[in-house]
């Protein structure tokens, strides 16, 4: 039963602002993912919550109580490190048991809990081995076990899956999520992998340069990205974004210089209200670009620049003048590089960003 709150938390390393005035609320039992490129401050944020770093300013609260001065061990947290940080000289059993031993839990109880945890994670047969004799996946499970066994009020995970190969990572993703749902322990999970974030999170906090860009459910983040950075960072292949200018007086017509886009008046209204323009940026996800070999009503002409067929889908990059647009198409679309093709943007799914602030207008 723990909620974690960060109030205006900053952490400077010398002149560098690793974490810059971050506000974050993680609800009890929630799976919160901190997502961002490397160097965005997500790991430092996690370490601040763990108590491995002290904030330069701001408050960290667990259940409303300030824990800034508490040692990591007194915060009732468990942390899974990217490199697992297993004690190399200890058997798996002792790796799992150490925390309980330190806390003075009776020996029988320790044995019981180690056995339960090992059972849960399917590592019972490994208890007598040392970490050096385990595969990456097995080490990962031990690291997880070491976190679970102490029944913490918060799980902190620092890219725990990034050292696994792709197939195993995908499997562990699911297992981890199911485990968390079962234990209902508040979890803060750091990753740079947007797929991981989308699949696992209840809510995602996207970070960049030490600042939180947006906090929301995966759907919100995906469908209503707060700014151009979030829009481009989440989603694969990434969102098409290009410059455009509002040309008509009613604001319903945009031009990119190569082609025009007509937008509904409700959207136009928002641009007017936002006070930005006429220069804006237009974003659209590949799945919202229709592509066809034959001309259809309202479609625009383009040349096929690149075709990436991934089996069940193919991504067609179209060239219109200087602009490249990626479109998602069925693999049977039958386009080849250099072909003429026709495309149309699903106008309702358009994102429009302010050119200067890069913030979402609509």
């Amino acid at each position: 039963m723990t909620e974690v709150r960060l109030e205006k938390v900053s952490k400077y390393f010398g002149e560098t602002k690793a974490v810059d005035n971050v506000d974050l609320q993680v609800n009890d039992g929630e799976f919160m993912v901190l997502l961002g490129p490397s160097g965005c401050g997500k790991t430092t944020t996690l370490r601040l919550i763990a108590g491995l770093e002290k904030p330069t300013s701001g408050l960290i609260l667990f259940n409303g109580e300030v824990v800034n001065e508490l040692e990591p061990k007194d915060r009732r947290i468990a942390m899974v490190f990217q490199d697992y940080a297993l004690y190399p000289h200890m058997k798996v059993f002792d790796n799992l048991a150490l925390n309980l031993q330190v806390r003075g839990v009776p020996r029988d109880e320790i044995r019981k809990r180690v056995s339960e945890t090992a059972e849960l994670l399917g590592i019972k047969h490994l208890l007598d081995r040392k970490p050096g004799q385990l595969s990456g996946g097995e080490q990962q499970r031990v690291a997880l076990g070491r976190a679970i066994i102490r029944e913490p009020s918060v799980f902190l995970m620092d890219e725990p899956l990034s050292n696994l190969d792709a197939a195993l990572r995908a499997r562990m993703r699911g297992e981890l999520k199911k485990l968390q749902e079962r234990l209902k322990t508040t979890t803060i999970y750091v990753t740079h992998d947007q797929v991981e974030a989308m699949v696992m999170a209840d809510r995602i906090a996207v970070m960049r340069n030490g600042k939180v860009q947006q906090i929301g459910s995966p759907q919100e983040i995906y469908n209503r990205p707060a700014n151009k950075f979030v829009a481009e960072f989440v989603g694969s292949p990434k969102m098409n974004v290009f410059d455009a200018t509002v040309v008509s007086r009613e604001h319903t017509k945009l031009t990119t210089g190569e082609f025009d886009i007509n937008i509904p008046s409700s959207m136009a209204q928002r641009i007017v209200e936002s006070g930005s323009g006429p220069e804006v940026m237009v974003g659209i996800r590949p799945e919202n670009v229709a592509v066809s070999t034959a001309y259809q009503e309202g479609f625009l002409e383009a040349t096929v620049y690149l075709v990436e067929d991934i089996g069940n889908l193919s991504f067609v990059t179209l060239q219109v003048g200087d602009i490249l647009i990626v479109a998602q198409a069925p693999p049977s679309v039958g386009l080849r590089v250099g072909d003429k093709a026709y495309f149309s943007l699903l106008v309702e799914k358009l994102h429009i960003f302010d050119k200067k602030t890069e913030k979402l207008i609509v």
């Binding site: 040692e71 061990k73 942390m79 004690y87 150490l98 330190v102």
Partner: protein
């Protein structure tokens, strides 16, 4: 391209090494270079009749033992402190490492002065703080000469032990120590349960280096005491030098050399075996 290197190795190491085994079976001196074949006589004399040689062997053992017993714990402690207090640590490290890089001859002379019965800083200090009764000719007193030498040895080598410990500790991922913090280990528990076990291999390597080093030891003792007083501070190397070049018994010296070679060879093989298993793992 590596051929010249090989030529050098053979010419200056392997040829003389073989030569030394050969010379150890003869008796002659610099005045009368008539080499008399004596078989193993040099060796029997060494182990049965030469008290100084046996004493020098004992001194080598004492030297290695005290080095391990004193330098390793202090080195580990200093390394831990340096890594914890990084701000002052860097400079501190450079300072304790200095003695190791400056000439051992210069160091020996400096300490010979420090131990000087009349003007030496140590006696002066003792008298100044009212411990004058402890003042003595440190290097001239048969009871303290060896201890005084050990003091200087530790002054030189603690920096090296510290450095090697720092290197080893730095190669351990910091997340392991952070994990220990989260696991709730106190500073002392962390040291006993995490740090020390992870340093076990290093400690073995250091001990072997100390033993091998004791057989190499020469400059310091030669400059500080030349083995005196009353031949009480000889190590095998200084006794070899004395026998071969001062007492003009090169054959006997060569025999001592053979024993040094065999002792060190065994130790070095041991060291390489350990190091190699670390490297290939």
């Amino acid at each position: 391209m590596s051929l010249p290197a090989l030529v050098f190795v053979i010419l200056f190491i392997y040829y003389p090494l073989v030569q030394m085994f050969y010379l150890s079976a003869f008796r002659w001196n610099f005045v009368n270079p008539n080499m008399v074949f004596v078989g193993l006589e040099n060796f029997t004399r060494m182990f049965l009749n030469d008290q100084v040689y046996l004493r020098s062997l004992l001194n080598v053992v004492l030297l290695a033992g005290q080095s391990s017993a004193i330098q390793i714990p202090i080195g580990v402690a200093l390394a831990t402190i340096i890594l914890r207090y990084r701000r002052i640590g860097g400079l501190f490290w450079a300072i304790i490492f200095l003695p190791y890089v400056i000439s051992s001859v210069a160091v020996s002379l400096i300490w010979t002065w420090m131990y000087n019965p009349y003007f030496g800083s140590i006696n002066v200090f003792l008298r100044a703080v009212g411990l004058g009764f402890l003042a003595r000719p440190w290097l001239g007193d048969i009871n303290t000469a060896l201890i005084a030498i050990f003091g200087t040895v530790n002054w030189i080598y603690i920096g090296l032990t510290t450095t090697m410990t720092i290197a080893t500790l730095k190669s351990i991922p910091p997340s392991i120590f952070e994990s220990a913090r989260i696991d709730g280990l106190s500073g002392f528990q962390e040291f006993r349960k995490i740090t020390l076990p992870l340093l076990k291999e290093l400690i073995v390597v250091l001990m072997i280096i100390d033993i091998a080093g004791a057989f190499k030891f020469f400059d310091l003792i030669w400059v500080m005491t030349q083995g005196g007083p009353s031949d009480s501070t000889h190590v095998t190397t200084t006794w070899l030098y004395r026998a071969a070049f001062r007492s003009s018994e090169p054959g006997y010296g060569a025999a001592i050399g053979v024993t040094i070679f065999i002792f060190s060879f065994v130790i070095v093989q041991l060291l390489i075996k350990i190091t190699r298993s670390r490297l290939t793992r």
